[in-house]
């Protein structure tokens, strides 16, 4: 388990990185936390000629709160553990730190980055699910300049995103929790720290005892995170009763069409997608400030 011969380059600015990436195109790979790339290199599943190490680019390491747009601007190199611990995150979008807890183990969270996770795009991973659920935007810089990709267009299929060869993801911009909005996150994995068998992220806004807005997304059931907008529409306008929860489970069950190796696995993923959404929804409702 040793990689093929590789040239190692280290960039200290975004421009340097983009220049190197543009020059080598498909033959180059960005090295962020290395928690997905290094195993792929060692198993010779990835065989780039060049890796461009971005770990010294200071501009990519910060979490910023933009109070006007009510957004968190998360640099591509921000580590999972940083998001888990950040007081800005706790204050403005706690769903992120709740989800971060489920990523691997501490050592992995200390190295792995949000940028690496979304560009790597394992459809069972937490960041693709959460960013898709919240409708995040992805800032990318390439030889042609900068562009912003909405979440709906970002995740293409397994291990593939809209980021092109030669481009660098610089930041993920994530909307903050709105007034009256609460959240739920549920994941089920075989062992602590494993990639999810399935996971659900939910946000709910209540007003006068009625759901006025919601976001529902499921991970681990398709080739990318699935945002269940139609299910959401059924929920909006309803009171969050036990009966609604049961219906919600059924709607989710009907809406997802999991990709699987066997009919058993497919049925299983359906079952648990419904259960996890239901439980995440309950969590969100329970988190509503009293009186809502």
């Amino acid at each position: 388990m040793k990689p093929v011969p590789i040239r190692y380059l280290r960039a200290t600015t975004v421009d340097e990185a983009v220049t190197a990436l543009a020059r080598y195109g498909l033959d180059a790979k960005v090295l962020a936390g290395g928690q997905s790339l290094m195993p792929m290199l060692n198993m010779r599943l990835a065989r780039p000629q060049v890796v461009v190490d971005i770990n010294e680019i200071r501009d990519l390491m910060e979490i910023r709160y933009d109070p006007n747009a009510r957004q968190l601007v998360v640099g591509a190199l921000v580590r999972h553990q940083q998001l888990l611990e950040s007081s800005l995150v706790h204050a403005h979008q706690p769903l992120l730190s709740a989800a971060a807890r489920y990523i691997g183990h501490w050592a992995i969270r200390n190295r792995g980055t949000i940028g690496g996770s979304v560009v790597h795009h394992d459809p069972s991973a937490e960041w693709p699910l959460v960013t898709a659920c919240l409708g995040a935007e992805f800032h990318v810089q390439g030889p042609q300049g900068r562009r912003v990709i909405p979440a709906a267009d970002f995740f293409v299929t397994y291990l593939t995103t809209a980021v092109q060869a030669g481009e660098l993801l610089t930041a993920v911009v994530i909307p903050c929790l709105g007034p009256g909005e609460s959240w739920g996150f549920q994941e089920y994995a075989r062992r602590h720290g494993d990639f999810a068998l399935a996971a659900a992220a939910v946000t709910v806004t209540l007003s006068d005892g009625v759901v006025t807005a919601a976001r529902i997304a499921v991970g681990g059931v398709a080739d990318r995170p699935v945002v269940l907008s139609e299910v959401t529409q059924h929920v909006v306008g309803q009171a969050p009763t036990a009966q609604l929860e049961v219906q919600l489970g059924q709607w989710v069950y009907d809406a997802v069409n999991p990709l699987a190796e066997s009919p058993d696995e497919q049925a299983y993923k359906r079952d648990i997608a419904a259960v996890l959404v239901r439980r995440a929804f309950r969590q969100a409702i329970n988190r509503q400030p009293a009186g809502q």
Partner: protein
């Protein structure tokens, strides 16, 4: 200072841990030699294929490549792989690199030695093999149809075929009130040592001498197997096993290590091969993988009338040369009656070869196979007979006053007290209360279950015809400065023998464990012993060390008596000295004694007539009741000691997710006299965790085409700390009458009954939902599938 005479039974801190925990251990991979090359192996992508040609020219042209070998070289430089163990088996003619044919995905086809592992792996990619795929034999059903044969010359795929019967089982079952019968399939899984196999081979053409550093459990047998597999004179071979990072049974063969050895012979340079995790999972030994059809007759009162079994094992490509696993099925057959009174018994065993990785040893070695079907069936019988599962076992177990107990199938059990352990389990579990709680929580939609398994752990195998034949020498020596060396063929593989053997020796000399060094793992230094497997340490090695220590202690007393002008019978060892009991002024420190014998003045006159100055003793322990000559019923006895136990698992099942959580795990355990409770408990807990792994997570999967699906640790799921509850261990002590200290080996007990206890608990939890699971590992998907089928 601890009272040295009582060191046996004390939780002495492990001597080896300072070295191991501060990063000062020395494993094979830490050793480098000048001019050393690195090996990489080309492995078969096909489960079954003919090899038309192998072209290594591209690899040879690559800079840094010093040698490339294929099956042709294996034939020219060596011989067919030697037999590890052959009991009623067919032995194939095979080589460490495939000749003509590949028989499993991952089988070595060619190997490269180069100046770095990177270059060696680059070179492996340049080797071109032309394969002609053959129909794969994956399942037992495939193997039964001889349309495709692994070894054409056999004419079939059966490596093992054996029947045995005592008493009239047919009538015993016919006369029963209730007969429970079921097929119990068990999946393939194995031990995953932190340190994979690593080997550094140094062949010196000038001397014709071969030195092999390797991570093994049995250095001496490896030396012999190398000699036989290479046609080299054995006295020219040295095998050294330094620190070994876990074995669990998986390091008892040389099939992989022959590859760097052949590369060293071919290149004339030292060659190191460090197995990576994929290689370990795809070609390291695999185990379990069987179906046992079991039928047990019961009277209405729950007592057994007879046991009939048919055991069919899927042995992968081989279990006699490539590894040493085949005999596990025979051990299973001998121990199927377990701890129960069984009036009539019949078993037939078949082992099929298939296109999967070699069949080897892993914690249990068939005792787990004996346990799993029986302990699953006991719980089914309890339900059918409306008898509590603990009570059903109580009515059938051997009583404490019946030992030594001649089991119907051959084994002679040494000691134990199952009824007391069952009572203890009830108390510890607060059993009646638990049942009440279970009913209440079910009403809240929470599914708790409890499952049991009785445990019997034959320890210290003495199997004829091979490397597990069961004896152990030890030499104990005093230095002129008055410290002690224990030379043992037992191997430290992390289980703590550097401490336990030191405790045993130190107890005889009134010294601390720090005054005793245990020397192991070097065939030039220690007597030909058999290493570490089959929980044999506390049966064989401990007994040999104890007896050699006693013998040396007597000699030291005779010499000291001569010097002190006292009677040897009046002397005692205490605090690093030997003295006349009750007269502390008449004493010699051991340093003074050693000095006097060896230096000042030296031996003449110091040593009494009839003795000599060689301050060492060697004793060899043989199982006193091992019997290889069959009795009139055809029965033999292979094991000397038998730890016993009652295990209980409490689980909580989330029926919506199919999730199984281990809530409690209780072990009532009896391994006779315990030398070091700390180490003993760690052995139990570690074993339990591996059993939990097999029950819930670990599986070596192949698809129907024979492709291997578990080649990394994201697909082969090992349990990690958050999944494992505290394992509660309670010790009983029934000393073994067959060992001098009453000790019993105890490395495997934790693993043996754990899968049955857990699946029993899951079925108990889901009983109100009419679900019966019979398949391991218990994955959430399987739990949900069963529930869905039952309409939930």
């Amino acid at each position: 200072m601890v009272d040295a005479s009582n060191l046996v039974g004390q939780s002495v801190r492990r001597k080896e841990d300072v070295r191991l925990l501060t990063g000062h251990g020395q494993f094979v991979d830490d050793i480098s030699l000048p001019g050393m090359l690195y090996a990489a192996v080309l492995r078969s992508p096909y489960p079954h294929a003919r090899i038309r040609s192998v072209d290594v020219s591209g690899a040879l042209r690559l800079d840094g490549v010093e040698a490339v070998i294929t099956g042709d070289d294996a034939q020219q430089l060596g011989k067919p792989m030697a037999v590890t163990l052959d009991l009623f088996t067919k032995v194939p003619t095979i080589y460490p690199l495939a000749v003509n044919k590949v028989r499993y995905v991952g089988e070595p086809v060619a190997a490269v030695a180069a100046t770095s592992r990177e270059v060696a792996e680059d070179a492996v990619e340049l080797i071109v093999v032309d394969y002609e795929p053959l129909p794969p034999i994956v399942s037992i059903e495939d193997a039964e149809q001889p349309t495709s044969l692994l070894y054409e010359e056999w004419g079939h795929n059966r490596q093992l075929d054996w029947q045995f019967q005592v008493g009239d089982v047919g009538s015993a079952l016919a006369g029963a009130d209730v007969v429970i019968s079921e097929d119990f399939p068990h999946h393939r899984y194995t031990g995953v040592p932190l340190e994979s196999r690593v080997c550094l081979a140094d062949y010196r053409p000038g001397q014709g001498a071969l030195t092999v550093w390797m991570s093994t459990q049995a250095p001496h047998q490896c030396r012999t197997l190398f000699a036989q597999s290479l046609g080299l004179p054995e006295h020219q071979i040295t095998v050294i096993a330094p620190d070994v990072g876990g074995g669990f049974g998986t390091k008892l063969q040389i099939n992989a290590e022959l590859i760097p050895v052949l590369l060293s012979i071919k290149s004339g340079r030292p060659v190191k091969w460090t197995e990576d995790r994929y290689e370990n999972l795809v070609s390291g030994v695999h185990t379990r993988d069987y179906v046992c059809h079991l039928e047990v007759g019961f009277r209405r009162d729950g007592t057994m009338t007879g046991v009939k079994a048919s055991l069919v094992g899927n042995l992968g490509c081989d279990g006699t040369c490539d590894a040493a696993g085949t005999a596990a099925l025979l051990v299973a057959a001998a121990y199927l009656p377990g701890p129960y009174h069984v009036p009539a018994f019949g078993v037939d065993v078949v082992g099929y070869v298939t296109n999967k990785a070699p069949y080897g040893a892993y914690r249990g070695y068939g005792k787990d196979i004996a346990n799993y079907p029986m302990e699953r069936l006991m719980e089914m019988a309890a339900e059918k007979l409306h008898i509590d599962p603990l009570e059903l076992r109580r009515r059938n177990v051997i009583q404490p006053d019946e030992y030594p107990y001649q089991q119907i199938s051959g084994p002679l059990y040494d000691s134990g007290d199952y009824p007391a352990m069952i009572a203890k389990a009830r108390e510890v579990l607060d059993y009646e209360n638990f049942r009440r709680q279970q009913d209440e929580t079910r009403r809240e939609g929470k599914y708790l279950g409890i499952g049991f398994a009785a445990m019997l752990e034959p320890s210290g195998a003495a199997v004829p015809n091979g490397i597990f034949n069961g004896y152990e020498p030890a030499t104990v020596r005093m230095t002129p400065e008055g410290q002690f060396l224990v030379f043992t063929g037992n191997q430290d593989i992390g289980q703590g023998i550097e401490t336990t053997l030191a405790q045993v020796a130190a107890s005889q000399f009134g010294v601390s464990v720090d005054d005793v060094r245990v020397v192991f793992g070097d065939t030039n230094a220690v007597p030909y012993g058999l290493g570490s497997f089959s929980s044999r340490g506390a049966t064989y090695a401990v007994s040999a060390v104890h007896r050699a220590s006693v013998q040396l202690a007597n000699k030291l007393k005779r010499i000291a008596a001569n010097i002190l002008e006292a009677s040897a019978a009046d002397l005692v060892f205490t605090q690093g000295a030997v003295e006349v009991a009750g007269v502390p002024s008449r004493r010699l420190t051991l340093q003074e004694l050693g000095n006097k014998v060896y230096l000042w003045p030296g031996p003449y006159g110091t040593v009494p007539p009839g003795d000599d100055p060689d301050l060492q003793a060697t004793e060899t322990f043989m199982g006193p009741r091992v019997r290889w000559q069959p009795d009139e019923q055809g029965r033999i006895n292979l094991y000397t000691t038998h730890p016993t136990g009652i295990y209980a698992a409490i689980v909580e099942v989330d029926p919506e997710l199919g999730d199984v959580r281990l809530r409690r795990f209780v072990v009532i355990h009896d391994a006779g006299v315990i030398i070091n409770p700390l180490i003993a408990e760690a052995q139990v807990v570690g074993g339990v965790v591996q059993g939990m792994g097999g029950a819930l997570w670990e599986e070596l999967r192949y698809d129907e085409e024979g492709q291997f699906l578990s080649g990394d640790l994201t697909s082969y799921l090992l349990p990690t700390a958050p999944e494992i509850p505290d394992v509660e261990v309670y010790h009983f002590v029934s000393p073994s009458p067959f060992t001098p200290l009453g000790t019993k080996g105890m490395g495997e007990g934790g693993t043996i009954p754990t899968p049955a206890a857990i699946l029993n608990a899951v079925n108990d939890a889901l009983r109100p939902l009419n679900v019966f699971l019979n398949d391991l590992p218990i994955t959430p998907q399987k739990v949900r599938a069963a529930l869905r089928q039952a309409g939930h």
